[in-house]
Amino acid sequence: MQEPTFLILTALAARPLHGYGVIQAVEELSDGDVRLKVSTLYSALDRLAEQGLTEVDHEEAVDGRLRRYYRLSDGGAAALAAQVERLRRHAATAETQLRLRPGLAR
């Protein structure tokens, strides 16, 4: 799973968000490191919906503009949980390996 995908799923985990909301949430989650392009965001949302990981939550019109909110599907939550577990395992392995490094203060 690529980083933008991971961050989009993470952003949608807590609550449904519309496009601009996802961009803001991803920026906050990554401490400003990842600023999603609009084209990247919608391409990712489309792909995630095709894979059944996200779905449309609801739509609303604000000042005559359409806002479509997306939420994480059950499948998406499972995929995100699996990815979190994988990252946790990798992080733990990396820590162990670092501790084995000779000359490193313990």
Binding site: V38, S39, S43, E50, Q51, V62
Partner: protein, 355 residues
């Protein structure tokens, strides 16, 4: 609609229509919200990003649809062959036309050096470009040099050519039984000449008491043919992929019956076009193999599109097989596209009625 919104909507035209209908409004909202928050990217950079995103979307295929991938690859390969054929045809259309029968007969009379029995034939080839072949009976004292000089006097640039003499085998030769009797010594002359975008091959066969000469005329190979064939190949592959991608998305959104019918028709079209595509590719391979060796292989150059010329490209089947399969396959593909688009129009009509 503000100027900014209009600008965004114009940029979104880079996206496929179905994608624009699905996401166009919300993307515009997001872009406007970003701009209002002061977080919009510099306009030019954002424009490029939207254009690139739109193009990428046009190439995308629905996720988890292995058949869509297979269809897109096969459509790209098939249409690449047709694109190469179109490029090859375009290149040949820029070449000089073949002279008429009267001109060919006049030319072979000039080469023969006298009036006499003459004939002209044209046998279009499914492998190579057009040519015209004229033969004439000449005097027994015919040689290449005077013919070459007569052609040069009319502005033809001639090449040195070859002279080969075949002598009868001695009576005691062990090869006589294998090769059969060669009763008369024969000398053959061959040379090329060029003028006004036409190349001719002069061939003379002189035996005791008689000589036969022939002139084969064909358009000189144009340096445009490779660029045009390669451009056609790439454009065809691109078109095949884009059409398959657009169909895949539309068929995915269609009802199951339409989806099955559209997929079956598209697959059938590709199957029918497989033989013509194979014929074009094998002519392309001939063209490539022969590339730069025209001097060694006298005759019109190989052309991709000539596979459509009626002939025995495939030894089994009627002479017009490749042409007929092309027309049939293209019709089926057009029907598959029409069926997919008709579904969309009907869907829109229903929405309009419901609205």
């Amino acid at each position: 609609m503000t100027g900014l919104e209009r600008r965004y909507r114009r940029l979104l035209l880079a996206y496929p229509g179905s994608y624009r209908r699905r996401h166009g409004d919300e993307i515009t909202t997001t872009l406007l919200e970003l701009a209002e928050a002061g977080g919009g990217r510099p306009p030019r950079r954002q424009a490029w990003q939207l254009l690139a995103g739109g193009l990428r979307q046009r190439f995308r295929l629905p996720a988890r649809r292995p058949l869509a991938w297979l269809g897109a690859v096969l459509a790209a390969v098939t249409l690449a062959a047709f694109g190469a054929a179109a490029g090859s045809w375009l290149a040949s259309a820029t070449q000089a036309g073949l002279p008429g029968d009267d001109s060919n007969l006049a030319l072979v009379t000039l080469v023969a050096g006298r009036d006499g029995e003459r004939a002209v034939t044209r046998s279009p080839s499914p492998w190579a470009g057009r040519d015209a072949f004229a033969t004439a009976r000449a005097g027994a004292d015919w040689t290449a040099e005077p013919a070459r000089q007569r052609l040069q006097a009319l502005g033809w640039h001639t090449e040195p050519g070859t002279v080969t003499t075949i002598r009868p085998l001695p009576d005691d030769s062990p090869l006589r039984d294998a090769l059969g009797p060669v009763s008369l010594p024969t000398t053959t002359y061959r040379f090329l000449a060029e003028r006004d975008g036409l190349t001719i091959q002069v061939f003379g066969s002189v035996r005791e008491g008689s000589a036969d000469v022939s002139v084969d005329v064909w358009p000189t190979a144009t340096p445009l043919r490779w660029p045009l064939v390669i451009a056609g190949l790439l454009a065809g592959a691109l078109a095949g992929w884009l059409v398959a991608a657009a169909l895949a998305y539309r068929l995915r959104a269609a009802g199951p019956a339409r989806r099955r019918a559209g997929t079956a028709l598209f697959a059938l079209g590709l199957v029918v076009l497989a033989a013509p595509a194979e014929a074009f590719f094998s002519n392309l391979a001939r063209m490539w193999r022969d590339h730069g060796r025209m001097g060694a292989n006298f005759g019109p150059e190989y052309t991709v599109h000539s596979a459509l010329t009626p002939g025995n490209f495939y030894t089994s089947g009627p002479p017009w097989l490749v042409l007929a399969l092309t027309v049939a396959g293209a019709s089926v593909l057009v029907a598959a596209i029409a069926l997919t688009l008709a579904r969309r129009a009907a869907g829109q009509a229903q929405v309009a009625v419901a609205g």
